[in-house]
Symmetry: C2
Subunit: 212 residues, 2 copies
DNA sequence: GGTTGTGTACCAACTGGTCAGTACAGATGA
DNA sequence: TCATCTGTACTGACCAGTTGGTACACAACC
């Protein structure tokens, strides 16, 4: 029973990567459910089947694990969520945003209103404790904002977005509204809140349809 | 030195109210700065000069202290923030909301972007852990929403708000946006975010000005 | 008016438990 | 045989909550 993990799973000991990945996998799952502070190291180790000495061989501290998880979430968000929505230079910004809103709404519905936004949750839980966490989270929100801004500005030059639109301000507002809507949905446990917010955000967006 | 508290401060022992108040005062200050989870009972006791046994004489648990603090914040919010803004039945809803937004922006500016919204902070910190906290927070946001809804509906009947406005949805969206904006401002430590969000919220409100 | 009884307010020291992090010995493989 | 991994047992800090007892105001009774 001693060396189960190493032999059973295979690449476990080989390159030293798998152990790290097993930890990351278990930790990101637990942290997503219980939050960073309420996930003890022992929980992560029990779940991943990794010993404590082993953990501290691969990570310097729990904080470093937290950074690794956060970097993972950020990378996934940037590549898997933001990129597919806003990468297409031919896509119409306003439609892309509307589509994005629908995707977020659908994600909330699937999760039954609970859980909230992984980034938003970590943001509010950690931003006022560890400066390192805050900085990373600020970075990803900035990236999100910038991508939105760029999409809007490009469309504006093309005449597909009204001149009254101030891309940076609109981007900030959209991000803020969405995070707030998710927070409120989590709090009230009522998907209707999210639905109504999305409708109103679309109504707001309609302000920037070019005049006919 | 033994009976300092009772004799020096005066009403301390008299009616049993002052000790409780000293605890509440210290706790609400600490919780506002560090959050509920990161405020240990010992911190509160050290700050208030109250012994531990004494604390448990006045409160059943740390959780009960949390509830007391939260009830205090809620009462203050309802009476001191919401009431003065939306109580006047003659006031024009849209102007009242704009005025309210300015007040929130000013408050953020004064606090130097940090701190965030006491209610929003607790909401994101506690809503997925303690059901009791979640329920109370949901209640106060519902009250806020209802007051906004009522103001908008009243104005709508009077013709001062456009028929396209769905008061409940608009109220949800305004609350969500505002909380999100505060959250994002805290995260980025940049008041410009808040300023731009307020501008955009006003632009959104302009959608409901009655057609001339 | 002094003794005795009673409830309130309070304190210091402690308990039981959790947690991040450490020490170290044993295994594994080049 | 030496460096790289890994598991077990431990440490010290911290934290919510408990305990047993003290200080004192106030009342009742003689």
């Amino acid at each position: 029973m001693t060396t189960t993990k190493a032999t059973d799973i295979g690449t476990k000991t080989r390159d030293g990567r798998s152990t790290r990945e097993a930890i990351l996998e278990a930790a990101s799952r637990l942290i997503h459910v219980h939050g960073y502070n309420h996930t003890s190291l022992d929980d992560v180790l029990r779940d991943s089947g990794v010993g404590k000495g082993n953990f501290y061989y691969h990570f310097k501290s729990k904080e470093e694990l937290g950074y690794a998880i956060l970097d993972q979430i950020i990378a996934s968000f940037l590549e898997r969520t933001l990129e597919p929505c806003f990468a297409d230079p031919e896509g119409r910004a306003l439609s892309q945003i509307r589509c994005f809103l629908d995707r977020v709404l659908e994600a909330q519905r699937e999760r039954n209103c609970v859980g909230g936004c992984p980034l938003g949750n970590l943001a509010s839980e950690l931003s006022d404790v560890h400066e390192g966490f805050r900085a990373r989270l600020a970075f990803v929100f900035a990236a999100w904002r910038e991508r939105l801004t760029l999409a809007l500005r490009t469309e504006q030059l093309r005449g597909a977005v009204d001149a009254a639109c101030r891309p940076g301000a609109v981007a900030d507002f959209l991000v803020a509204s969405l995070e707030g809507a998710i927070l409120l949905t989590k709090l009230t446990k009522d998907i209707a809140v999210m639905e109504q917010c999305v409708v109103e955000m679309k109504r707001y967006l309609s302000l920037f349809e070019p005049r006919v």
